[in-house]
Amino acid sequence: MSERAIKLEPKDYATDQEVRWCPGCGDYSILKAVHRALADAQADPAKTVFVSGIGCSSRLPYYVETYGFHTIHGRAPAVASGIKLANPELDVWVVTGDGDGLSIGANHLLHVLRRNVDLNILLFNNEIYGLTKGQYSPTSRIGTTSPTSPKGSFDAPVNPGLFAVGAGATFIARAVDVDQKGLPVLLNAAREHRGAAFVEILQNCIVYNKDVFEDVVGKKTAADTQIHVVHGQPLIYGKNRDRGLRLNPRTLTLEAVTLGEDGVTAADLLVHDETSPVLAHLLLTTAAPLPAAMGVIHRRQAPAFDATFSSRKPRQRRTLVKQLLHRGDLLDRR
């Protein structure tokens, strides 16, 4: 906001409402990163709208001092589309979870991504239904024991990022809830993207699915279990920055290599190309011992739906309405 004299701090984006997530919930970190991201961007609270569905994640709009709409289960992308199309000047965020976004609302998520409506979509993935007390979700791994899967689930999970690739998303990113340095940057990258930006945030539900991502996010091992991808940079990771990913051209899979071993040099590594959906597919499907990809995995430019959608202001509408009323075959009996 150009006329604003005072610089807004992260706390200025917090509301007076008491935050009611479980103590230790990953949502607190995400909320903090959202406040930080908005402050970094000096986002205009009046022109920013947070829209959510139903679930723990969907309470977030009540805690952000902007316009906010807590809608119904799974439908946030549809409501947000209506808001954005009605007023394209608004910066519209969607907050959803793995149940809200990929179960009951997966259809809307699919369509909002393929249409490329200019929304910033944050999917908090904790691989469990939290608010309904711990049932397995569409991202729960096979074997997850829960009140509705006492012997372990046998439902094959969906990969959120891969779902987005399939839907034709133009921006796909992944982050960890507690990453207070990287997450705000990523959120603003999503905000700046013209089109639907999809951000999967690995979120720790400490009550019903505690530490389910520990193998990826554990502090001691994170450097070796995560790879932070940067467009145009080779895919390097590891505590000593000596590990990398290269393509096995025969199997069309990624393989982890160590620089300096078996004659491997940096030139052998794949260079991240965020415009390639094929590379996005590979990066989104890595499994241990390969690291999990974080950062902007896919980004390309495509026309945003709202840019083409016609919501023009009518001019001389009364004259036009009169013309419309008199269109067609007329019988004058005056």
């Binding site: 509301t15 409402q17 205009d44 609270p45 009046a46 022109k47 920013t48 709208v49 829209v51 959510s52 139903i54 709009p61 009540y62 001092e65 902007t66 316009y67 906010g68 709409f69 807590h70 809608t71 119904i72 439908r75 992308p77 549809a78 409501v79 947000a80 589309s81 209506g82 808001i83 954005k84 199309l85 009605a86 007023n87 608004l90 259809n107 809307h108 699919l110 369509h111 959608f309 016609s310 919501s311 023009r312 202001k313 009518p314 509408r317 009364r318 036009l320 309405v321 009169k322 419309l324 009323l325 008199h326 269109r327 067609g328 075959d329 007329l330 019988l331 004058d332 009996r333 005056r334």
Partner: protein, 632 residues
């Protein structure tokens, strides 16, 4: 009903007609669903209207787009009543049936009266086509059509001959036979050809196709003049209808609804966003509005019914008026979101073009069976204003009324129409938009201050503050909210207060409604109380009964929730109440529920509108024979 069997009868009828200016005819076109029947019927309707007749139509077609040719279930029909008197119904029984094949003849036989003129395409009565229509023998030869006047015409051959100069193949040339038959009917009733000629000229870019169709039209017309069938094929000109002084056009319900919404947007100085998902018979509204973006309507074809209503709600939250539209099954899907709009106190118009149910039901057939769904069909105590249109042209005013209520009270409003109204057309006096009062909104102006949830006492409407306005930044949602701040509240007293507020808001809608009036008749005796598309039929039945001296009156209800304040008192002035409905008794239940009145029911759920005779029969069963009492 006209008897075409005896030439003297026909002439007598004509003489009678010219004396009274009080004559109408009913023509039914029937053929395969790919024969262009609807087009033919609509063109005939327009010609009749421009010729000065009043008109009412009944399109009656199958759900299949191109059903297998020649089958009974694939028959598409279009019925039109036209004439020199006020026409409010498409007519109970056709005076003329045009049947393009055996199936089209046989499925319509039960609706004909003795003396109906049947024009058949004789060439279509082949052994194979008879078999497709499940006929063991040819009705043209087996004596089963004895009580009708049948004219056999080689429509197919004559059409092919007429279009031969344009070098069309046998199959393509047969596509012109609807215009040939239309030409014959235009001649028969002395209706102008010009509207159809200009329609054809505008429709076909290909000069050859255009000329072929014109040739077919003219050939059919010429056939009437020259054929040696003088005793039946005589011209029957209809006198001009005694219309009130106005400029008229023909209009379908879907068109009138689209124009009404656009006009309402102008009256409210608000842009509209129409979000919908295709469904029969509601899609035509989306088709019409998709062409009106210059008039301040944005249309969004959503991925499903739920997304459609949710996007409309989003639009309303952001300051456009969201409108969504569907038929019963789609409205069911939207139900949860409608509750969200009630809870968040946002304006929204939900149009339900009703069709026969339950489930998928009969998509192309009409019914009035979503009244319970509209009034009662939500979880929680979730009141919703409901209005219904009664005829194609009336959709214009109903749309304006729905928008007015939605914006005055900051509430979703359900507008009920149906498949019959949406597709039917009538002659419509073009309204003057300048004569309609503006529609005020609750948008804050430059001086407005305070909470978004400060409600106007007279309407219980909150402020319509929208994103972009730095003064009113607020959060809202489907969780019960604090009465004043809008923040989440689980307080027992607050939920009571919010529920009471929503109840009061609905009650306050009634404060602004006009008093319920009598359409016809005077207090005392029997009153026929109806709603929606049965208006025209009930009007005609009551009018006929009044003329024959029965103590009967008509009430037609537009505002179904809340009901007009004076309705109970008005009903109390009658001895008996008859409620005819195309459902199993939904308005009857509503009246008993809200007004504790005793009502008689007349119910029909065949997918077809009431016949005037059915209403008259029910009236005669329940009316007290006042005239005889007087005589004693």
């Amino acid at each position: 009903m006209r008897d075409f069997r005896d030439p003297r009868h026909s002439r007598a009828a004509m003489t009678h007609r010219s004396n009274t200016d009080n004559v109408s005819y009913v023509v039914r076109f029937a053929g395969d669903s790919g024969d262009g029947i609807q087009l033919q019927g609509l063109q005939f309707t327009v010609a009749s209207a421009l010729g000065g007749n009043d008109v009412a139509t009944l399109p009656d077609f199958p759900a299949e787009i191109r059903a297998p040719a020649g089958t009974r279930y694939g028959v598409s029909a279009f019925q039109v009543q036209f004439g020199g008197e006020r026409i409010t119904t498409p007519g109970d029984s056709p005076d003329v049936l045009i049947a393009f094949n055996p199936a089209a003849l046989v499925v319509n036989l039960s609706q004909l009266h003795p003396g109906t003129l049947i024009v058949v395409d004789e060439q279509a009565f082949t052994e194979q086509r008879l078999k497709r229509a499940d006929l063991a023998s040819n009705p043209l030869d087996d004596g089963s059509l004895g009580e009708f006047e049948v004219i056999r015409v080689d429509i197919s051959r004559l059409t092919q001959e007429a279009v031969k100069p344009f070098g069309m193949g046998a199959k393509d040339s047969l596509r012109c036979k609807n215009f040939w038959a239309l030409g014959l009917m235009l001649w028969m009733f002395d209706q102008p050809r010009d509207p159809t000629v200009s329609w054809i000229a505008g429709k076909f870019r290909d000069a050859n196709l255009r000329d072929a169709n014109l040739a077919a039209l003219n050939a059919g017309h010429a056939y009437g003049e020259t054929a040696e069938l003088a005793h039946v094929l005589v011209q029957r000109p209809t006198p001009a209808a005694p219309l009130a002084a106005a400029e008229y056009r023909t209009i379908t319900g879907a068109e009138a609804l689209a124009l009404g919404l656009v006009a309402a947007g102008e009256l409210a100085d608000t842009e509209l966003m129409f979000c919908s998902y295709p469904i029969t018979p509601a899609s035509s509204l989306l088709h019409h509005l998709a062409n009106l973006e210059d008039a301040g309507v944005a249309t969004f074809q959503a991925e499903d019914e739920i997304a459609a209503v949710c996007a409309a709600i989003g639009a309303s939250y952001a300051g456009r008026l969201g409108i969504t539209s569907s038929s019963g099954p789609g409205i069911a899907l939207k139900t949860e979101a409608i509750g969200l709009a009630v809870a968040t106190e946002l304006p929204l118009v939900i149009v339900n073009s009703q069709r026969a149910g339950p489930s998928t039901g009969l998509p192309t057939k009409t019914e009035q069976s979503d009244l319970y769904q509209a009034v009662y069909g939500r979880n929680g105590d979730t009141p919703l204003p409901v209005v219904a249109s009664r005829s194609p042209g009336d959709c214009f005013d109903t749309a304006i009324e729905a928008v007015r209520i939605a914006l005055r009270h900051m509430t979703p409003v359900m507008l009920l129409t149906d498949g019959y109204i949406a597709n039917a057309s009538e002659l419509w006096p073009i309204p003057d938009i300048d004569s309609y009062p503006d529609i005020p909104t609750r948008k804050p102006d430059a001086g407005t201050t305070g909470s978004v949830f400060r409600r106007e006492p007279a309407t219980q409407a909150r402020l319509w503050a929208t994103p972009g306005d730095p003064r009113f930044i607020y959060r809202v949602g489907g969780i019960e909210k604090d009465f004043e701040t809008g923040n989440i509240s689980y307080e027992p007293d607050n939920h009571q207060a919010m529920t009471d507020m929503r109840r009061d808001k609905l009650a306050k809608v009634a404060d602004f409604l006009p008093d319920q009036t009598l359409e016809q008749g005077v207090p005392g005796g029997l009153v026929v109380v109806a709603w929606g598309s049965t208006y025209g039929t009930v009007h005609k039945a009551v009018r006929d009964c009044l003329r024959s001296g029965l103590a009967v009156a008509q009430i037609h209800i537009r505002h179904l929730n809340p009901l007009p304040r004076n309705l109970a008192e008005l009903l109390g002035q009658f001895d008996e109440i008859l409620v005819p409905e195309l459902n199993s008794g939904q308005l009857a239940t509503l009246l008993r529920d809200k007004l504790l009145v005793r009502v008689h029911q007349l119910n029909k759920v065949s997918g077809q509108p009431f016949a005037v005779a059915e209403i008259k029969r029910a009236i005669s069963e329940h009316v007290r024979p006042r005239m005889q009492e007087v005589r004693q």
